[in-house]
Amino acid sequence: MAKYLLLKHYRGAPAAVNDVPMDRWTPEEVTAHLKYMDDFAKRLERDGEYVGGVALSPEGTFVRYDGEGRPPVTDGPFAETKDLIAGWMVIDVDSYERAVELAGELSAAPGAGGRPIHEWLELRPFLADHADTTE
């Protein structure tokens, strides 16, 4: 089994085919989209491929150390940040092919007009934290 991170971007991914902000959909289209996402996660969970998932607020802050005895410096949120993560899902699957298949399904979630969004999702393999037991 191999773990993959499925990353969804607010910004930073190539533009989706059906690229309309959610507040410009009809309420029914919003509901259909949320149901699709929910059903997807539930099915993965049932099939033993779901590890976890999180939705993130779009408002974030950058923080860095500013020297001994000084409070950390904070900055942001930056309107111009190129990359903004919306959330992630971690899956544990048999193969890279299976991970691609699932990401494709998630990207087909319905959007404006009830048509698939064709959103770009980022798929990142986990690095295992132990070496193979067989050499």
């Binding site: 959610m22 959909w25 009809t26 309420p27 408002e59």
Partner: protein, 381 residues
């Protein structure tokens, strides 16, 4: 005996062990172990005296733990096999445990976790599941909290305000995992209110009961949030409302108003309205005035502005809102609501979209997104 009844005995049993000379941290661990054994043994072999059984088993567990501890430290420590005679409690052990677990030296998250375990009798696994953190994380949080209060004397008077805040936080956590923290918080608050006759404990109990009564109507079948005005009021729990109103009236009659009583009074006025249109907004605004006087909280002023928008019209609400800081949580959502009522749907749609981006929960974000979508759809056609 069901699990809830079993858990009710927990604080008293911890109290007995502490009076016999056990330290709180070890006593608490010992009682947890006794509980686990009770759950295993009682179904086949129920004891005649549940509390006595728990005390005996917990004391034995305590001796084991104390011995293991002594061995680990390679110290010869003589622990009496026979428990010393118990001094008659001068104070209410259960009440003292509330104060200890919500001690002001603890962070709110630690105080809530410790209260749920030592007063509520929940296991670390259950508390971890409710807060969606790993069990090891919750175990560390609880043992750190126990170390923090290790030097607090068990019989010293505590602070009611922190106890009430801890219970309020637990209530707001609601329902996730296999434990209903809202129901558990109600049980603990009811127990506290009965023992102390404190009017704010009663106020908090009334507030919880009145909010809990609306829970079945607050979520749609697909998990969506249903705002108060759109809820099916026939699904409100009338028994809980009646109890909440009774508790509140008895507290208000003592004439020592506090913020929980005032909040409960607002909840009671909502509960009293057969339809949203029949809500007594004028009285609700008066209660918000009381709350502003008691707390001077900007969040309360924001809620007051929305209530004023209902009582005196959306322009009055918007004028009250204009005096507040736009950076307040839920400011854009309140402004969106009032602008729509005032007929400015384009501004309302824009503000709902802003509010959705600032939402702190997924149901709230989805609800606000739907509101923006609804208005924008209307504007297009």
């Amino acid at each position: 005996m069901n699990e809830a009844l079993l858990r009710e005995l927990v604080p008293a049993v911890i109290g007995v062990l502490v009076r016999r000379g056990a330290d709180f941290a070890t006593a608490e661990d010992a009682v947890q172990e006794a509980l686990i054994e009770a759950v295993r043994v009682w179904p086949d072999d129920p004891p005649r005296e549940p509390k006595g059984w728990l005390v005996t088993v917990a004391w034995r567990k305590f001796l084991d733990l104390a011995r293991a501890d002594a061995a680990r430290r390679r110290r010869e420590e003589r622990v009496d096999e026979q428990p010393p005679a118990e001094p008659a409690p001068a104070t209410d052990d259960t009440l003292q445990l509330y104060f200890l677990c919500a001690h002001p030296s603890l962070s709110p998250a630690s105080a809530v976790a410790l209260t749920l375990r030592a007063v509520g009798g929940l296991t670390t696994r259950q508390i971890a599941a409710a807060y969606l953190v790993p069990e090891a994380t919750m175990a560390q949080r609880i043992s750190r909290a126990k170390r923090t209060v290790a030097r607090v004397r068990f019989d010293q008077p505590g602070e009611m305000a922190t106890v009430l805040r801890v219970l309020y936080l637990a209530f707001n956590e609601g329902y996730s995992g296999d434990v209903d923290l809202a129901a558990e918080a109600i049980r603990l608050t009811r127990q506290l209110a009965t023992r102390t006759m404190h009017e704010e404990a009663a106020g908090l109990l009334a507030l919880m009961l009145l909010h809990h009564a609306r829970r079945p109507a607050r979520t749609g079948t697909d998990g969506r949030l249903i705002p108060l005005a759109e809820q099916d009021r026939s699904r409100w729990d009338t028994r809980l409302i009646a109890e909440g109103v009774d508790v509140l009236q008895a507290a208000l009659a003592r004439d020592r108003l506090g913020e929980y009583q005032a909040q409960a009074a607002i909840a009671a006025l909502h509960a009293d309205a057969p339809t949203a249109a029949e809500t007594d907004w004028v009285q609700i605004v008066e209660w918000y005035d009381e709350l502003v006087a008691l707390t001077d909280s900007p969040i309360v002023r924001l809620n007051r502005a929305v209530a004023l928008g209902e009582a005196d019209g959306p322009q009055a609400g918007l004028a009250a809102l204009a005096e507040l800081d736009e950076g307040l949580p839920r400011y854009p959502a309140a402004a969106a609501y009032l602008h729509e009522r005032a007929g400015d749907r384009a501004t309302a749609a824009r503000l709902y979209a802003t509010a959705a981006r600032a939402a702190v929960t997924i149901p709230e974000r989805d609800h606000l997104t739907r509101q923006a979508a609804r208005l924008n759809t209307g504007l297009r056609s």
